[in-house]
């Protein structure tokens, strides 16, 4: 089962993600970001138009950060929380996916960006784990 935690950090929010496979980390990251933005643990069924995304980065940690930054950008410009991601393909340097979301009544937490600070991705016990600090 995939999962995430929003951990304590003095000024910001540290996101911990876990997934059974590499593409699952991107799905879980979208869900976690939506939870942080709305304050609600359950992602609502998407109502907005799907958006196709292709994100590139030189390594896995940077790719996850880039993915989150793409979602932050789309959320702000589309006024939607994009909590549902369907990953078409994911390598160490590229992810192709479709994301969908909805316009929330209230956005609880404004996320400015995902950072490279302590950004980590690793595989342990056959599962994928990641940490990303978000500026909120």
């Amino acid at each position: 089962m995939n999962g995430h935690e929003l951990e304590e950090h003095t000024g910001e929010v540290r996101l911990r993600l876990e997934a059974a496979d590499w593409p699952g980390l991107f799905t879980e990251a979208a869900r976690a970001l939506a939870e942080l933005m709305t304050g609600a643990p359950d992602v609502k069924p998407p109502a907005g138009q799907p958006v196709e995304l292709t994100v590139h980065a030189p390594d896995r940690a940077a790719l996850l950060v880039e993915w989150l930054n793409e979602l932050v950008f789309l959320s702000e410009t589309r006024k939607e929380v994009l909590g549902e991601a369907t990953v078409v393909s994911a390598t160490a340097n590229e992810v192709v996916a479709t994301v969908r979301g909805y316009e929330p009544a209230v956005l609880k937490t404004a996320v400015k960006a995902a950072t490279l600070h302590e950004a980590r991705v690793d595989q342990r016990d056959g599962r994928w784990h990641a940490t990303v600090v978000l500026d909120v």
């Binding site: 003095t10 000024g11 910001e12 950008f73 937490t109 404004a110 400015k112 490279l116 600070h117």
Partner: protein, 477 residues
């Protein structure tokens, strides 16, 4: 393990260069024992040590007494690099480029403001977009946005009628950095900012209606146009999504350029480039443009506040709000120290020019540059002025606020939002905030003691206390 600290002054500690082989300069922190104990609980000291490894860093890297853990740079960190080849690091300015504070002073006391504070805060909340992603009233054409980025406050005053020419005299750098180049700001950043001019944003941004509760230096207060009992408005916001995207774009670009530039750093978020390199020059031009956008944002908000104020107060005496000053606390500037040009990064730190600095407006020469230190919600804020000694002691820098002591989650565990709302109400503070949870995140208990922070900078000689302000109304972003 926390870095070893040596006390080298009454309120000054140092981590020597010997602590880590990659340190190029010592790291110094202004704090008393209580604040030092607080900041030793998170990773801010280690982050400050990481900053001391930046290529071209000079003198010392500095932590202000409100310092806390950030990402890359600590919040409350100051670092200068020697030009022309010293680096600039987007992470050393942060995502909210030119987040800053502006103080507007009225000529009346609360009891003379007939409509009352409740009505004022209510009308401000109706007129000023708060929270994430809300549209402002000024949606800019691409050309107008480029003009804002290039010219900052000057453009919004002259072309958009947002305020008066004389406001510009009382804004750091007159609200416009000349190195700005809108062509270095990405289309994505412009898309984020296109409808955000004149919006407050979320997080810890706010507009507070305040009363001058105490004067510490009557002569300086008089020069700044402040008097006991005076009603004032404090604004805190920055460059919104536009600035966030500029930082995102250039951290990515610089991270990918580190190997080519031959730079190895202990934290990827410190990614940097020499200011003399194309990457460094492009980021500086984009950062200056984002800083101009932030000053323009505070100028448009000022016009909105004035409009509400005048609608309520009517024409005549008491209808005016004067800009006391406007300071940036997340920015990099090229400044001269000892005849050498430095790129001074201030992240969660305020410029603090002394009374003899030529960049001060004529009215404040002999007094010092005004500095505004907001406390947490419901607590006091302070007006300080810079000192000439700060140039040597702290690269003409001082603190920027109370500084977070607890995470948002910990704050919510400690304080219930509805209880806090009632407590503030009992103290006569009018609060407009969309949710109790958000209110709790910014509770006073989540922050350090602002009075202690301000006392430390005064004892260190890097700023002087002028006045204490107390809140009467809060509009939270």
């Amino acid at each position: 393990m926390s870095p070893p600290l040596e006390r080298i002054g009454e309120v000054l500690y140092e981590v020597g260069k010997a602590y880590r082989r990659d340190m190029r300069v010592p790291a110094r922190v202004f704090a008393d024992e209580a604040l030092m104990a607080q900041l030793s609980r998170d990773s801010s000291l280690e982050q400050l040590v990481n900053v001391a490894t930046l290529p071209g860093v000079t003198r010392q890297v500095l932590g202000m007494p409100d310092m806390h853990e950030g990402y890359g740079f600590p919040v409350g960190g100051v670092a200068a690099t020697l030009l022309p080849d010293g680096v600039i690091s987007p992470g050393g300015i942060g995502f909210d480029i030119n987040c800053g504070v502006r103080l507007l002073a009225s000529s009346v006391r609360p009891e003379d403001f007939r409509p009352g504070i409740e009505a004022l805060v209510h009308e401000l909340s109706r007129s000023i977009p708060t929270g994430y992603g809300r549209h402002g009233r000024l949606s800019l054409s691409p050309d107008a946005l480029n003009r804002v980025l290039a010219e900052g406050c000057r453009y919004v005053v002259a072309a958009l009628g947002q305020g008066r020419d004389e406001d510009l005299d009382f804004i750091e750098s007159r609200g416009s950095l000349s190195h700005a180049d809108p062509s270095k700001v990405s289309a994505r950043a412009k898309e984020r900012g296109q409808d955000q001019l004149g919006t407050l944003g979320g997080g810890n941004h706010f507009i507070e209606v305040q009363r001058v509760a105490e004067l510490y230096d009557e002569k300086a207060a008089e020069a700044l146009g402040l008097f006991a009992g005076q009603l004032a408005v404090l604004l805190h916001t920055g460059s919104r999504g536009l600035g966030h995207q500029v930082c995102t774009d250039y951290v990515k670009a610089m991270d990918q350029a580190q190997a080519r530039l031959g730079i190895a750093l202990p934290d990827r978020q410190l990614a940097c480039a020499p200011l003399s390199s194309p990457e460094g020059r492009d980021y500086f031009a984009a950062m200056c443009a984002a800083a101009n956008f932030a000053w323009a944002n505070r100028q448009v908000l000022t016009a909105k506040v004035r409009e509400v104020w005048q609608r309520l107060a009517g024409a005549g005496p008491g209808a005016e709000l004067r800009v006391v000053y406007d300071v940036a606390h997340n920015v990099a500037k090229i400044e001269s120290f000892g005849g050498r040009d430095l790129c001074v990064h201030r992240k969660g730190a305020t410029r603090a020019f002394g009374p003899s600095h030529p960049e001060l407006p004529p009215a404040y020469r002999g007094v010092g540059q005004p500095i505004f230190i907001p406390g947490s919600m419901g607590t006091a804020s302070f007006v300080l002025v810079g000192t000439d000694e700060a140039a040597e002691l702290s690269l003409a820098s001082t603190c920027h606020g109370a500084g977070r002591a607890l995470s948002r989650t910990a704050a919510k565990r400690l304080v219930a939002g509805d209880v806090l709302r009632r407590e503030l109400g009992k103290r006569g503070i009018v609060v407009r905030c969309p949710s109790n949870a958000e209110l709790a995140e910014e509770a006073p208990a989540a922050y350090k003691d602002v009075e202690r922070v301000v006392d430390v900078v005064a004892r260190a000689g890097i700023a002087r206390k002028v006045a204490k302000l107390v809140p009467l109304g809060v509009l939270k972003g």
